[in-house]
């Protein structure tokens, strides 16, 4: 029911207002004495070099693709979880097959060495 979402909606609204309010307070309260040292990007305390916009390693993309696949899988877990109790053991076996096929895929990827970080 959409009315049930009034509560999360309220949370969202309060969350947004809270963040804006804190920023506003910080602006009011904090002294402003900028210098180049302060305005430099924060890189874990190291002196930064170059742009942050560098070309990233293509290897990240494989992890990203695997994530997408399993993200789609999770979508199917929701309706299953909701009706699991009423359908019982049969639903359990079905989901087991569903997951087994995908876990086989994960094992394949693992054995293939795609999860290994090659330099």
């Amino acid at each position: 029911m959409p009315q049930d979402y009034a509560y999360p909606g309220l949370f969202l609204l309060v969350g947004i207002i809270f963040v804006l309010f804190v920023f506003f307070l910080a602006r009011l309260a904090s002294p402003k004495k900028p210098n180049p040292e302060k305005e430099r990007n924060y890189e874990c305390g190291e002196v930064p070099f170059g742009f942050a916009w560098v070309q990233y390693n293509v290897r990240y993309y494989i992890f990203c693709l695997i994530f997408v696949i399993f993200d789609v899988e999770v979508v199917f877990l929701f309706p299953w979880a909701v009706v699991y109790k009423s359908l019982g053991f049969f639903a359990f076996i079905e989901m087991l097959i569903f997951l087994a096929i995908l876990i086989f895929g994960l094992v394949y990827v693992w054995k293939k060495g795609a999860l290994k970080w090659v330099r």
Partner: protein, 165 residues
């Protein structure tokens, strides 16, 4: 009272969707465009909630806001010279774009005007996810398992294409 609140929410969401969609195609920084695309996706999930389609809303958040966004972020980060002062980040095909969008808009308006909108007599499902889960695990159990096979095919082919380096 209730319907006025719903239509108010609908108009707010629509304004966010249209506004952020316009920003997606007009902003200079491609990464900022992406962030507004996420906002667009998220607001569309809100529209689905208004339409009693909670499952679709969850799917929208999980797949579009989650997975597709991650894919796009990586696509942007892996593009060479994305932050190059030499590269002009402007749309050089404004006029063809406007023509195509105009034709699309007019066609859609014509179709919308000529359609007789029939309202279903049936009441909307109060818990659509239960209905979906039940039919997915009983009537449509074979397609459900086939989905798994399709996913594994996508996974393996992605790995094979990506590893050919």
């Amino acid at each position: 009272m209730e319907s006025s609140v719903q239509s108010a929410v609908f108009y707010i969401l629509s304004a966010i969707i249209v506004g952020s969609a316009i920003l997606v195609v007009t902003l200079k920084n491609i990464f900022h465009s992406l962030l507004f695309l996420v906002l667009t996706f998220f607001s569309i999930a809100g529209i689905y909630v208004l339409l009693h389609a909670e499952f679709i809303a969850a799917v929208q958040v999980l797949i579009y806001v989650g997975a597709i966004t991650v894919l796009l972020i990586f696509a942007i980060m892996m593009t060479a010279q994305i932050y190059s002062p030499v590269l002009r980040q402007t749309n050089e095909q404004v006029i063809p774009g406007l023509i195509i969008v105009g034709v699309l808009l007019i066609t859609t308006l014509i179709v919308l005007g000529n359609t007789a909108w029939r309202v279903s007599e049936k009441l909307p499902e109060t818990q659509s996810i239960v209905t979906i889960g039940k039919s997915l695990l009983t009537t449509y159990v074979l397609p459900f398992e086939v989905v798994s096979v399709v996913l594994i095919t996508a996974l393996i082919s992605a790995i094979i294409i990506a590893r050919r380096d």
